[in-house]
């Protein structure tokens, strides 16, 4: 693996000033049809190229605004005369390595010397930067073409400058490691020495640029160190919680333990008299859980004083609209109604009843998984400073741009009066797609003189999450006379917040819809009303649904007496036109699925005979545009202690950009999935969350972590897709199938801890 390390970001003052200017310009600079915009670029400034990054919706919006001619630039490359290349990255870093990957893609096409590349984080301004979310593993696919074009565009201008200077044909100039060479004349020059001249060259047409083929990549696919790692390992301030401002005070914000409760009154005098407390007040918020709910703010001299005072807080809650949800009741009721299939089917292909009547064999099973919290290690926080008519904020968020309107609403200010600085994020997993804590900080800051850091306690964090919803699946399947999957009936019991559609993260995913290809298929949904907020949780929907469905697939292949891998390959390659994705942009491919399954089976040693008490399980999923198969080899002792022998992950997510980062994501997601399947569960009683710290929510620890996880990548020429999520969903199913192989016991309920299983050291 290449040992490549970038200089770690030194702030580029010139570029920062330039960006601020762009922010301040009432009419953003116009990019021509060519797709790039040349900025300033005189003398020492070198070549500064602005370009557009963003999703289709964002681009369309801008196109519509100006006849397709005006686009707003939202990303920047600077080639300085000292050879330093600065790249402004616009997406939040949440541990998935985006900051590194973006730089690698540009630098490869630019043929830059990676040792002279510096990455900078852009501030939040959707008007300037377009979509800035990091979620759903979408950052890379969206930006892939745009980043490569930008790198190629800057290179073309450097080459044009050299060609003019040397009076040679630009096509005869080659680029490598930030140096241009004309072999015939023996001339060569560094990018830095050409930067000022390059800035005077015409801007090339983005569409006309020739991009590299995969064989020509020099950086893409190699291993890279995270650009901020040197700061991480030396404890430099990076995260939201690390923000310090002169004169800063500290706040807690206490909401009703039962979601939706409102403050009637609280012991304000007592709280204000607590040591270190500066102020205490109630806020009504906006009344929306994704924004700011009613609560009590305590402002103190330091975090600990605020936490201490919070413990003394006594609030009289108005519970009239508060949650009374109970997870044990949901479980009971789901079980009761599971066999009553809803009248109205969401999907109805072929005729399941006829297939069941004609079946050689039928199988029925009921699966269940619980609510789960995100519990990222950095508890929610935001620093906000209301000054000069604006609120300036430092927010650790996955989705700053979408949060902006809510934050402005909570602050009671127009959007252009909110200035957001993005910080590194201590774990996302989907939690920080919602900006509730930032909304609270904005509202609090209006009542505080000077900067204030809102800090949630770990208990606040557990009690006010947007949980992965529980789910319940009643299946019935049919095997035909040839031992093939012939019918699949599924009653999915889930939750609704508004009484109309599924709550956030509670719908059957599309991926599931076209991955179970039974010629006779019927699916129906029952929804329980839910007051507790739910949300996206690493690989939303797939993270638990794949467990239920891929374990049930294994039940079917077992009953059919078939080899599971053969059964899976046969099923996914079945042609059921009604189940093919309608949206052309969906990249689901039975061929790619087959390839990952075959390779995974091969690497895991599928078909070898396992000793008694040992077993091998395999499952696959199509999740977030990635095609993935996972295998688990384990043994189980008489006390239901599971020893994980091996985990194999095979992914096809297109070409890999950063191999080190991709390996890390494959290992991390698999570890997270093992941890979640074994032990994680949120119980809710009378609207209150029961698990409020890690002692009750046993995230996997070192002694139980697998010694190795073998990740393999099938690198296809398809555009790259994200790595943050796909390696999660199939793991739990592979685990369940392996337990069956080892013991003959079916595990149909998560977490496995509830069934008496634990991991051996």
């Amino acid at each position: 693996m290449a040992n490549i390390q970038s200089n770690f970001a030194q702030s580029d003052a010139y570029l920062s000033a330039l960006i601020r200017e762009v922010h301040a310009t009432p009419v953003a600079p116009v990019i021509g049809r060519r797709g790039f915009f040349k900025l300033a670029g005189a003398g020492a400034a070198g070549l500064v190229l602005g370009f557009q990054l963003g999703d289709a919706a964002f681009a369309a919006e801008n196109d519509a605004a100006a006849d397709g001619a005006i686009q707003t630039m939202n990303a920047f490359i600077r080639v300085a005369s000292n050879n330093t290349i600065t790249i402004y990255s616009k997406c939040p870093e949440i541990g998935q390595g985006i900051k590194t990957s973006f730089g690698v893609i540009i630098a490869d096409e630019l043929d830059a010397d990676w040792n002279h590349v510096v990455m900078e984080q852009a501030d939040i301004n959707p008007k300037v930067y377009g979509s800035q979310g990091a979620g759903g593993s979408t950052s890379i696919p969206r930006a892939w073409d745009q980043l490569r074009q930008a790198g190629a565009g800057a290179k073309a201008m450097l080459i044009a400058a050299a060609a003019k200077q040397w009076e040679v044909d630009p096509r005869q100039i080659t680029a490598r490691d930030s140096v241009l060479t004309h072999a015939a004349s023996g001339k060569s020059a560094t990018y830095g020495s050409l930067a000022a001249e390059a800035a005077k060259m015409p801007v090339p047409d983005a569409k006309g640029l020739k991009l590299k083929t995969r064989a020509e990549y020099r950086l893409i696919g190699k291993g890279f160190h995270g650009v901020d790692d040197p700061k991480v390992v030396t404890g430099q301030p990076l995260f939201g919680i690390d923000v310090q401002r002169p004169g800063m005070v500290y706040a807690t914000y206490t909401k009703c333990p039962a979601a939706g409760g409102k403050v009637r009154s609280f012991n304000v005098d007592e709280i204000k008299a607590e040591r270190g407390v500066i102020d205490a007040f109630a806020l009504t918020g906006t009344g929306l859980m994704a924004e700011a709910m009613p609560g009590v703010a305590i402002i103190a001299k330091d975090t600990w004083s605020a936490f201490q005072a919070q413990k003394k807080l006594k609030v009289d809650w108005d519970l009239s609209e508060a949650s009374q949800d109970s997870t044990s009741r949901f479980s009971e009721e789901a079980k009761k109604i599971a066999m009553s299939f809803p009248q109205k089917a969401d999907e109805n292909i072929g005729d399941v009843d006829k297939a069941f009547a004609a079946a050689a064999k039928t199988v029925e099973a009921y699966y269940e998984y619980p609510f789960a919290a995100h519990a990222p290690l950095e508890p929610m926080n935001t620093t906000a400073h209301w000054h000069d008519g604006i609120v300036e904020m430092w927010v650790p968020t996955q989705q700053p741009d979408r949060g902006l309107p809510s934050i402005a609403k909570a602050a009671g200010l127009p959007e252009d009066k909110i200035v957001l600085h993005q910080t590194r994020v201590g774990g996302g997993f989907g939690r920080r797609l919602v900006n509730d804590y930032a909304c609270e900080a904005a509202a609090i800051s209006r009542k505080v003189d000077g900067p204030v850091k809102l800090q949630w306690t770990r208990e606040d964090d557990f009690a006010h999450d947007f949980y992965r919803p529980a789910g319940y699946h009643q299946f019935k399947g049919a095997i035909d006379g040839n031992g093939r999957l012939d019918a699949w009936r599924e009653h999915f019991i889930t939750f609704t917040a508004d009484g109309k559609k599924e709550a956030s993260g509670a719908n059957l995913t599309d991926n599931i819809k076209f991955s179970i290809k039974a010629p006779n298929l019927r699916r129906g949904t029952t929804m329980f009303p839910l007051r507790i907020p739910t949300g996206a949780w690493r690989a939303p929907g797939d993270n638990a649904q794949v467990f239920a469905e891929q374990c049930f697939m294994h039940e079917m292949s077992s009953v059919a007496g078939r080899d599971h891998v053969e059964f899976l390959l046969e099923a996914v390659n079945r042609d059921v036109p009604e189940l093919a994705p309608k949206d052309k942009s969906v990249n689901f491919s039975p061929k790619r699925v087959s390839d990952v399954i075959k390779m995974c089976a091969d690497k895991a040693g599928w078909g070898k005979t396992a000793p008694k008490g040992s077993g091998l399980g395999l499952a696959w999923c199509y999740s977030h545009a990635g095609h993935v198969a996972q295998a688990v080899e384990l043994s189980v002792d008489a006390n239901k202690r599971i020893k994980i022998e091996r985990i194999v992950v095979v992914l096809d997510v297109g070409p890999i950009i950063d191999m080190t980062g991709s390996q890390a994501q494959a290992q991390g997601a698999s570890t997270d999935a093992l941890s979640t399947a074994m032990g994680l569960k949120i119980n809710i009683e009378n609207g209150r969350i029961k698990e409020l710290n890690y002692n009750a929510y046993p995230v996997l620890r070192m002694p139980f972590a697998p010694m190795t996880i073998d990740a393999y990548f099938i690198q296809s020429d398809n555009p790259p897709t994200g790595m943050g999520e796909p390696a999660f969903p199939a793991l739990a199913a592979a685990l369940g199938n392996a337990i069956f192989a080892a013991t003959g016991e079916r595990v149909r309920r998560l977490p496995l801890r509830d069934l008496g299983y634990s991991l051996a050291i």
Binding site: P230, V232, V233, E378, Q667, M702
Partner: protein, 152 residues
Amino acid sequence: MFTLTVNGQSHLVDVPEQMPLLWVLRDHLNLVGTKYGCGVAQCGACTVHVGGNPTRSCQLTIGDVGTRAVVTIEGIGDAPNGAKIQKAWLEASVPQCGYCQAGQIMSATALLNSTPQPDDSDIDAAMAGNLCRCGTYIRVRQAIKNAAAKPA
């Protein structure tokens, strides 16, 4: 008023004696590398060395620190094992979100201080208190072994 020696520097701090060392470091000495994760000795993000021992700083009050020297992630690189561990961390690309890593590095350095050649069970025992929500355990283990294999 307390006198506190952190990373070889002496500080005077005016805080209540019940305040945990974690918050003295973060809010009063501007040493924010030490992290808050749980406040109840469950996550290890707040691990520092006190008198040479790995300690959860969310559990130790300033009043109980006494005259013992405190070393944090900001200062651990000045000690040979700390520098070795940090380097091994970079080479193995351990961090994902990075939030737990200060605590992991402090625990790992303490392990090398007491057990220069740790085996897997030594690593399990020393690192069990440090949660990593991102699941970087495989690389943490590898980095510790790599560091131990390097000459002092």
